[in-house]
Amino acid sequence: SHTAPAWSAQSAAADGLLRDKHSQRPLGDGAATLGPGAQDMVAVHMIRLYEKYSRRGARPGGGNTVRSFRAKLEVVNQKAVYFFNLTSMQDSEMILTATFHFYSEPLRWPRAREMLCKPRAKNASCRLLSPGPPVRQHLLFRSLSQNTATQGLLRGAMAVAPPPRALWQAKDISHIVKAARRDGELLLSAQLDSEERDPGVPSSSPHAPYILIYANDLAISEPNSVAVTLQRYDPFPAGDPEPRAAPNISADPRVRRAAQATGPLQDNELPGLDERPAHAPHVQHYHKHELWPSPFRALKPRPGRKDRRRKDQDMFMASSQVLDFDEKTMQKARRK
């Protein structure tokens, strides 16, 4: 058993534990990842194991994996039954040890006795009212496969002596978990059965029981094992619709085009203008410059209609051999 610090001390323990060695700052965002109400005892316990490994390299339970399982409280036949869903265990994880942690308080005496018996009172009445035999409590474990209505197969029962004061206790349930897993029944239930009148259904409090499973993941040394467990895209897809798969999303508007390769792209000649060597028979050989007009020929601006008419005259005139100049230019030329 490990003594459970009182809740305030416990949360202080959690704070103390939430100090991350690597970044030497309170694990603020780590706590945020855990969620507001989730810094319960199981989280504190797991962070303590993480701190122990990070500080001293102490392999938790001699393996490389510790999985925690929170309880889900249900009332069956007016009794509080805690359910544990163990399906997140990987096939490659070999179970080394499994422990059941629960918070138990000393049985409460009826009010009257407390009123009458002052501590260390001498009068006989107290002695007469000495407590009867302690009520025995039993822990009953059952396993059932998913979605079966039965109460499940009884896997084990353990006697639990009521503690002298409130504290967390741990019980080794390795054989129970291994047998249930072997039979493929990964839903476990735990019930605290006591002979005394039913103390009623506890509220699901931060004192809810939890299970720790210490395992050796045989696949952890495989290449890329970190991606198997940590590479996720929607961390908690349960319930919320996939943001990407909005129901009315239309098919992708873009047309997927494949670049059809037209024939073997062996060279960068234009297709159909093949230059074959002259000796090849009946080949019309072209000279390069005939094939490739200079790429730098400037584009002529398109002349306006008037210009076009004048241009046509010019063209007509140009057909004669002699160029004609105006009188002034002719005089200048004669003088020269």
């Binding site: 991350d20 060695k21 690597h22 970044s23 694990l27 965002d29 780590g30 990842t33 855990l34 969620g35 989730a38 199981v42 989280a43 797991m46 962070i47 194991l49 993480y50 490994y53 990070s54 392999r59 938790p60 490389n64 994996t65 510790v66 999985r67 925690s68 399982f69 929170r70 869903n85 399906t87 997140s88 993941d217 952890i220 040394s221 094992s225 970190v226 467990t229 940590l230 590479q231 996720r232 895209y233 961390p235 908690f236 349960a238």
Partner: protein
């Protein structure tokens, strides 16, 4: 980074899980020093790059040029360290896993 030695050696790299989008389910650590290996493994290789025998032979063959196209050996992690990661699984249960080969201790030519 620019004044790093040319020869194969360990270079500093800090990985922040927020940068790779894993911080939503990783409780701790939020970041860690992963390091990486880079640098030349050319002939003659100094002892410090701890070449394997094969790497030594390969770098000689490459230097001699008998066989064209032989690349120089690669600068890769040699000794590596594990990292314990505390994270939430799909059912929001807390899990602790100790992953091997998560950070580089030494580099070598292989």
């Amino acid at each position: 980074q620019w004044d790093e030695p040319r020869v194969c050696s360990r270079r500093y790299l800090k990985v922040d899980f927020a940068d790779i989008g894993w911080n939503e389910w990783i409780i701790s650590p939020k970041s860690f020093d992963a390091y990486y290996c880079a640098g030349a493994c050319e002939f003659p290789m100094p002892k410090i790059v701890r070449p394997s025998n094969h790497a030594t032979i390969q770098s000689i063959v490459r230097a001699v040029g008998i066989v064209p196209g032989i690349p120089e050996p690669c600068c890769v992690p040699d000794k590596m360290n594990s990292l314990g990661v505390l994270f939430l699984d799909e059912n929001r249960n807390v899990v602790l896993k100790v992953y091997p080969n998560m950070s580089v201790e030494t580099c070598a030519c292989r």
